[in-house]
Symmetry: C2
Subunit: 368 residues, 2 copies
């Protein structure tokens, strides 16, 4: 749709749905850039395909792919997955894609945020990002969903909602000078309230240690139902993550959601810590202007970076001693869903995980 709506979702009665609400489907972008994904992106393509097929068993999946990778992607994906040509600069549709909204009548719209590759020219992760910035508009036009387009830089991974008026986010990201430096905290909060249709914003100071997104909340702390939040944790007091998670825990314990409820907080112990290997780093092309992948760097691994699809949870695991506890915890969160684990390391090497590479489109107000 060419002309964006000039009203706001709040004024029009649209809200960002919670991820556990019924989906019409899921969107992903096919990975290909060899300066972020090792070995010509072949291991990442296998990992993304695994995620896509896992979700496709639960709900419709569309994978967006460049013209050059179309035939290759088609051969590596089953017929259950819809493939559509769409340019992008990398493969993080959580962050460059639209945020879908629903109203009480079950109609769907979307917010097409501005995207600047996690920080713009000076501290962003790559240049250019013009194709990424068009993904939101293209997805919404494909679906013929009407579009809001605020003059506001936001990645979908930097916010989390309970679907009932509460937003979780981090100061490290949203108040960073590389997103909306000209805006006050109040003006940023206004955008969240108006475009997500939210009442209450819970600010956590920081996200996962060394997360290159500037602490996206979706890798750190997320709602699993109204009133319940999971938080990445470590028992190791010498780990810098310990202080970060403790600080968030204190705030969450004191917080109330939009309906006035106190929050139940469940700690999910992190994997590792995990570090990239020499072999992994050597598989990535070094291109000036793109953040290099260096051997021995600590990876921002987290079990919080999962995805809730219809009837299932897709949970990244790392062949790590903490995997089992994470699976158990998720089973308690979602007794009615099947917890499906997928290998998470290849996606983590690129800078995110299952939640970062997916974007849910709500089914609307109708129950599936």
């Amino acid at each position: 749709m060419s002309a964006p709506l000039t009203s706001t979702p709040r004024s029009d009665g649209y809200r960002m749905h919670a991820e556990w609400e019924p989906h019409r489907g899921t969107w992903l972008i096919w990975p290909e850039r060899s300066d972020n994904w090792r070995n010509g992106a072949k291991p990442a393509q296998a990992a993304f395909a695994h995620v896509a097929e896992t979700i496709a068993a639960a709900e419709p999946v569309t994978v967006c792919v460049s013209a050059g990778q179309y035939v290759n992607a088609r051969e590596r994906l089953s017929d259950a997955v819809r493939l559509v040509e769409m340019s992008s600069n990398d493969s993080w549709i959580r962050d460059c894609g639209p945020t879908f909204l629903v109203n009480d009548a079950g109609r769907v719209r979307g917010v097409d945020w501005k995207f600047n590759a996690w920080g713009g020219l000076e501290v962003g992760l790559y240049f250019p990002w013009d194709a990424d910035d068009l993904v939101g508009e293209k997805v919404l036009d494909l679906e013929r969903d009407q579009r809001y387009a605020p003059d506001f830089v936001l990645e979908g991974g930097s916010i989390d909602v309970d679907g009932q008026g509460t937003v979780l986010t981090t100061e490290e990201c949203l108040l960073h000078g590389n997103r909306n430096p000209e805006m006050s905290r109040e003006l940023i909060e206004w955008h969240l309230r108006e475009y997500l249709n939210a009442e209450t914003i819970i600010w956590l100071p920081r996200g996962v240690y060394l997360d290159e997104t500037n602490g996206h909340v979706d890798n750190f702390a997320r709602f699993v139902r109204p009133g319940q939040v999971m938080l990445t944790w470590t028992d190791d007091e010498s780990d810098p993550q310990y202080e970060i998670s403790n600080e968030a825990l204190t705030i969450l314990r004191e917080a109330k959601d939009a309906r006035g409820r106190e929050l139940e907080i469940t700690l999910v112990h992190q994997p590792g810590p995990l570090f990239s290997t020499d072999a992994e780093a050597r598989g990535v092309d070094h291109v000036p202007g793109v953040q290099p992948r260096v051997a021995g760097v600590r990876l921002a691994g987290s079990y919080v970076n999962s995805y809730f699809a219809n009837g299932i949870v897709v949970l990244p695991v790392f062949d790590d001693p903490h995997d089992e506890a994470a699976v158990e915890t998720y089973g308690q969160f979602f007794p009615e869903r099947r917890i499906v684990t997928v290998p998470g390391r290849e996606i983590l090497l690129g800078g995110g995980n299952v939640h970062c590479v997916t974007q849910q489109e709500p089914f609307g107000g109708h129950t599936l």
Copy 2:
């Protein structure tokens, strides 16, 4: 859909619908190549946009566009038109796109023919055509319609059907050595019968004089309803078109359709003859390997190259003395439809007209 069906539409009970049956929508491709469209394709873009908007007033329209032209096309099209990114080598979706099929239950499938740019490496109109050849698959996957993919070169403009088992086509095109040189006439007929679900094939020897498609039937003779065919005509006995049209008229008069009916033939006098001007030819880039556009060349103008959308007919006109009679004739063909004229010259300069740049997707067996 990755794997094509290995059965045939005939065996599965699917048939090519007639264009006057109800549509789910119409597909077009945005023109851009400056070695076929004059003045950087800007006049052609205006003409295609005019066609798209005209049809969009009657039924859903999707325009496919390259990544590079996405923003430009979006700005030149209204919100009524859906825009999707899709690579192509030029903008003739009638010929490179899928042929849609329906069954009696109203389900839709498509045939994804092989495409070789109207003749392949030696006598085709351009190289490469790999992106064009993927358009059929991409459109069908977007719509999640199942796909047949015969090993058979065919352009949609080279066939016309009555929706009741009869196919009109030309020997000049289908028997040309540049399409399926290894196939006998019988094998070519087998493909038409199996993939269009047809009984009777009416072969006309040639199409419009100097038509660079090797005489596509959709520019020459088409069904307007079962049992009635319109035929491009000229009263000028010195025009090479006179003999071509007369020859076809004789055959059509003797032909019977799949239901055993004789055909009523209506002559539609051609415009012009029309010739390209110096200014028009000078606006086209000359690129080796692509058919050049030369001043003074006779253009294959025809009123038969129209498009039937829901409730309307889109008829190209040429500011020509024969325009008025064409409009009147169409009014007699389709008393229940509005005849909407559009300027046809810019599209004609590129080698076709309204029918060549459109592809209808049937609504299925349901009545709108």
